[in-house]
Amino acid sequence: MTGKTGDLNKMFNNHQPNGSENAGDVMIRVENLKKYFPIVQGVVWRRRVGAVKAVDGISFNINKGETLGVVGESGCGKSTAGRAILQLQRPSSGRVYIDDTELTTLNKASLRRLRPRMQMIFQDSYDSLNPRQSVGQIIAEPMVINGTYTRSRIYDRIAELLELVGLSIDHAGRFPHEFSGGQRQRINIARALALEPDFIVCDEPISALDISIQAQVVNLFQDLQRDLNLTYLFIAHDLSMVQHISNRVAVMYLGKIMELAGRDDLFANPAHPYTQSLISSAPFPDPALERKRKRITLSGEVPSPANPPAGCVFHTRCPVAEKICAVEIPAYREIMKSHFAACHLADDQGAGKIL
């Protein structure tokens, strides 16, 4: 299945770095990515009066074949980050590399040639499907636009893809409204897979589904990753699902990454007070445990990203904030091996621990 994408690799990667042994490791590199949305005023002469800092300088790598989970509350910029990485919304500044191709400076045509490699799956499975197209048409569309698929190949591929996501070719003639939420999300997945991508941004793909259906779709994501060697950026607000599916997890708050670490490390030793309170706020399906569990309940709510607090953006809600937190922006640094956090107090000795 790498035939096509392999060619593209060659096309864009003619300046492979030295040796390329570890080039296979990191697939996506994000450097200081920012996305600001302007706030404008005035009816005729539109003046820019400020900016919503939806994503405010995030950096991370995604390795080939891994799942990086991104969690955070609504408005923390996790979806915007996903879109900015795929250049669906052009970032305000920063760099995004896929293998060694820099995306933010590419023009439309070159970006288009790269599109088959990177796809997106959206939260709302109904809004992201055209209600007047049959499932077959929906899945065929990327291949038709791509132009390198013959008609008979497209027919075969539709059947292949439907089977891959647990539907059958009999469904190809039906329309989106005839399906349940879980099945519609399967159709979205089939369409995303049509051009054999290797990187998929999953933007809360299971949040709108019922629990028993969520489990089906999560299992499907994992099977596909194993069989097709996919790389995921998995955006969600449900900690337990992110923990289940991810290799590494990034925690976002007000446009910044607060902490990023390997999954088990992050959940066992959360260093940032925000991560600690997120984990402690998440309800756990065990009554005995719930009763004896201590909780860190944060006061207040997330401040507006149009006017984020000075210093550490979390200091207004942080239970252990000190003077420096209101003044100085904490550096995003590696506090333990492969464990990054942006907090003045956190260190490898467990400082900054609340509980």
């Binding site: 879980g182 489990a215 923990q243």
Partner: protein, 325 residues
């Protein structure tokens, strides 16, 4: 001692496409001062059941076909059937004796009326307070549910509040008239986890202070584990399992409950490579149920399940299930 006893409640919707069998005989009781969690997936009938009790459903298309909902007052001496009340009597109960917290506070609140007046409105209606007293009490209530600057916030409109604060206003309205029962219909579903934790704590605190009986509707088995005394699991318009909360999580009996718990990934605890999913999807409610409604998705189904409807039976003290197994 029960404060509410629901018996064999049947609600159907008569739509153009056919009859939707939303509730097919729901029975449960609510003890004084307890928190009963009702869990189920979308379409399982958990909200319809509550709305049937308070006559909040649009009729038509909805019709309550059968059933009783006995509401006990004065220590169980008097009882009224909520389903046969006259309009005036129903108004006395709704918002007075029984408070309701809706999921979506923004659409439940009146957007062109200050929150203070919305709280005061029910105080004047149910308790007959004067405008002055109602205002005084409304400010107290806003403070009580943890809204800072209540005096000023009294004059704000719903859109000036954040999601969590709006939910607090809803709670203030629900408890304004000193109700006996509060129905919380997915009160935290639309909120972020850190705010959800705040609201859960608030409702728990109020429940203890005011000795409320609370019916907590949710699809989140984690929230229920932390808050409920007993849990009722709904599926396709039927209660399939009712039990004390520890019993339910430690010894789930109905295959659906088992499946739901298996579908959850564990935080921190044990975690297998794959989630156990329940295959298939919930049944079409347009078909008249003739046998167990979980049979299509049940890994243990046998012939009898396809021919007969199981009864809700007590298999252990206070543990009921609707299954032949």
């Amino acid at each position: 001692m029960p404060i509410l006893e629901v018996k064999n409640l049947v609600t159907r919707f008569y739509t153009i496409e056919g009859v939707v069998h939303a509730l097919n005989g729901v029975s449960f009781d609510l003890e004084e001062g307890e928190i009963l969690g009702i869990v189920g997936e979308s379409g399982s009938g958990k909200s319809v059941a509550m709305m049937s009790l308070l006559n909040l459903l649009p009729m038509p298309p909805a019709r309550i076909e059968r059933g009783k909902a006995l509401f006990y007052e004065n220590g169980g001496q008097d009882s009224v059937d909520l389903l046969t009340l006259t309009k005036a009597e129903r108004r006395r109960v709704r918002g007075g004796k029984i408070g309701y917290i809706f999921q979506d506070a923004l659409s439940a609140l009146n957007p062109v009326m200050t929150v203070g007046r919305q709280i005061g409105e029910s105080l004047m209606e149910h308790l007959g307070l004067s405008g002055e007293d109602a205002k005084h009490r409304a400010v107290e209530l806003l403070e009580h549910v943890g809204i800072p600057g209540a005096e000023k916030r009294y004059y704000n409109y719903p859109h000036q509040f954040s999601g969590g604060m709006r939910q607090r206003v809803m709670i203030a309205i629900a408890i304004a008239c000193d109700p006996k029962i509060v129905i919380a219909d997915e009160p935290t579903t639309a909120l972020d986890v850190t705010v959800q934790a705040q609201i859960v704590e608030l409702i728990k605190r109020l429940q203890e202070e005011l000795r409320l009986a609370v019916i907590w509707i949710t699809h989140d088995l984690g929230v229920v584990a932390g808050i409920a005394d007993r849990v009722l699991v709904m599926y396709a318009g039927y209660p399939v399992e009712i039990s004390l909360v520890d019993d339910l999580y430690n010894n789930p009996v109905h295959p659906y409950t088992k499946g739901l718990l298996g579908a959850l990934p564990g935080i921190g605890g044990k975690r297998a490579g794959r989630l156990e999913s329940i295959e298939g999807a919930p049944p079409d409610l347009l078909a008249k149920p003739k046998h167990c409604q979980f049979v299509w998705r049940c890994p243990y189904a046998f012939d009898r399940c396809r021919n007969e409807m199981p009864e809700l039976v007590e298999i252990a003290p206070k543990h009921y299930t609707k299954c032949f197994l």
